[in-house]
Amino acid sequence: MSDYYLFRTALLDHLRPGKLAAAAIMVGLSFLIGLLMRWKMDPETYLPANAYGLLTVFFVFAFVLTILSVIFCTGIVAQEVEQKTIVYLLTRPVPRWRILMIKYLVAVLVTTVIGWMAVLAAALATFGPAKLGESTVLHDMLILPVGVLAYSSIFLLMGTLLNRPLILGLIFAFGWEWFIRALPGYGQYCSIMTYIRVLAPHEGPESMIRLLSLNTVGVDPPSRAVSWIVMISVTLVALVAAIIAFSTREYVPREDAG
């Protein structure tokens, strides 16, 4: 019963007009960029799969997925602390790990659904409605939750450990993730996005993707097996660490301490 109400409350929080508008903008942008690519590129050389691949890799996975995961998951604890409503949650007979897990799963669910819509919008704009069922599209939709789970668990961990997790989360998502892949050698192995890309490859001009991602060094990407292991491990380790942190740390609104 308590799980249902926690789930419902968390879900309703994500369905507030402001958040829905942000989701609509993400999906709308995915569609608009796709349309622009289709219209502006030379029809002779325009390849829908390439356009879709670029859009999915650089907008949906690298931006929509990460920004939503950062905002939703760093806020799971921080928002409750900031609003001081954490007091109500932590003085009820519900184990802390359950509170955290329910809120995490809601964030993952919402991010995944918005991500799926962005993938579909990208496919609709680049392929056209007749080819929405392309195997690449379906495959992206299957891998997207894997990426969401991994990123969300990392940002959840940040949210349980840091007082201002949003800024560090953004630095990680748009600083570290891009910077480390640009480093020579095996730097790309330290980026979650590398593994997502291995799991959701796109046939498009791979050289262009590599150039745009600044990954100019000829180190082989990790194998699919390694990518699965890393994604699952990162998700589990970060989740367990977040649960331990949330179950043992004190969360008291700062100005109330005294």
């Binding site: 308590s2 309703l12 409503t85 003085t91 009820r92 184990p95 008291v252 005294g258």
Partner: protein
């Protein structure tokens, strides 16, 4: 029910609570102190939001930090005004009632009952964001009592309430106490606390200055004479009689009102026992008799200011 054993709590270099040992029994216990005295820290320790740096805090025999077994029997009404503003009052109480473990079969009726108890039935289906301060206080109390806890902790529960609201909450707390519950309230409005309970814990700069019955505590403060004011038309002859008593240290006349006497005694109990006999024997007409020292504020001033 609630026990602190040499509990201290540091916030980095700042001492929030210093070596406090006390027991909060069944009935109403008032937690008093100025801002920064450690009231909130003590409440957060009891409600398991903080862990003591040293010492122990036990609620129903167990440490409360992240302990669902304790929270099942504990109700908490925090001082914060922030609630889930997008929720209705009913949804807010329902969510927290469900989290408190109430079964679905009784959830709705228990929520309605607790909302009615705090007089919020008419506004329960409005969003909390539109509530006045007093309404927020009432709905907070509703969520605190909805699961019928054995101990209820209320941080400044009377803040923002109108006189009627204060009376209602006060009556409710008395009812809970009479049903064998432990009720701990913190307040800086001494007068109102005094109307609710005589059992108090007085904190000052993180230390427990005094605990127990307010009158007993007052009686133990020997270094401060006990003041009594008497209004009578026969002030002078009464003053003479009172000065003959060995435990009356001084009698003062009021310059503005010649009917008013201010007595100082170091043995108030003896004075109270003998005074009616003197009055009856000599036929004095007493129009007013009061002791400003027998209230909480006086005790508080004595203990804090020395």
């Amino acid at each position: 029910m609630i026990v602190l054993e040499q509990a201290s709590r540091w916030y980095g270099q700042v001492l929030g609570l210093n070596d406090v040992s006390c027991i909060m029994p069944v009935g109403i216990t008032a937690l008093l102190g100025e801002n920064g005295a450690g009231k909130s820290t003590l409440m957060k320790l009891i409600t398991g939001q903080l862990k003591p740096t040293t010492g122990r805090v036990l609620v129903f025999g167990e440490p409360p930090f992240a302990n669902p077994r304790v929270f099942r029997k504990l109700g908490y009404c925090p001082e914060i005004e922030n609630n889930y503003d997008d929720m209705t009052g009913r949804d807010f109480v329902t969510m927290l009632a469900a989290m408190a473990g109430l079964p679905s079969s009784t959830l709705k009726s228990r929520v309605a009952e607790s909302i009615e108890t705090v007089g919020m039935t008419g506004a329960a289906d409005r969003k909390i964001g539109g509530y006045s301060k007093g309404m927020r206080q009432r709905i907070k109390v509703a969520q605190g009592i909805v699961h019928d806890p054995d101990a209820l902790i209320l941080d400044e529960p009377l803040n923002g309430l109108d006189p009627l609201g204060r009376r209602d909450i006060s009556t409710l707390l008395h009812e809970l106490a009479s049903r064998g519950k432990s009720v701990v309230i913190s307040s800086h409005i001494l007068y109102e606390v005094e109307q609710m309970t005589r059992n108090m814990l007085l904190l000052h700069k993180g230390r427990l200055m005094a605990q127990g019955d307010i009158y007993q505590i007052r009686g133990l403060i020997d270094s401060h004479p006990h003041h009594i004011t008497i209004t009578t038309e026969q002030a002078r002859p009464l003053a003479k009689h009172l000065l003959d008593l060995p435990y009356v240290s001084s009698v003062k006349f009021d310059m503005q009102d010649p009917r008013l006497l201010e007595i100082e005694t170091r043995a108030p109990d003896q004075f109270y026992a003998q005074f009616p006999d003197i009055v009856l024997e000599h036929g004095y007409k007493i129009t007013n008799f009061e002791s400003p020292d027998n209230n909480l504020e006086a005790v508080f001033k004595y203990l804090v200011n020395g």
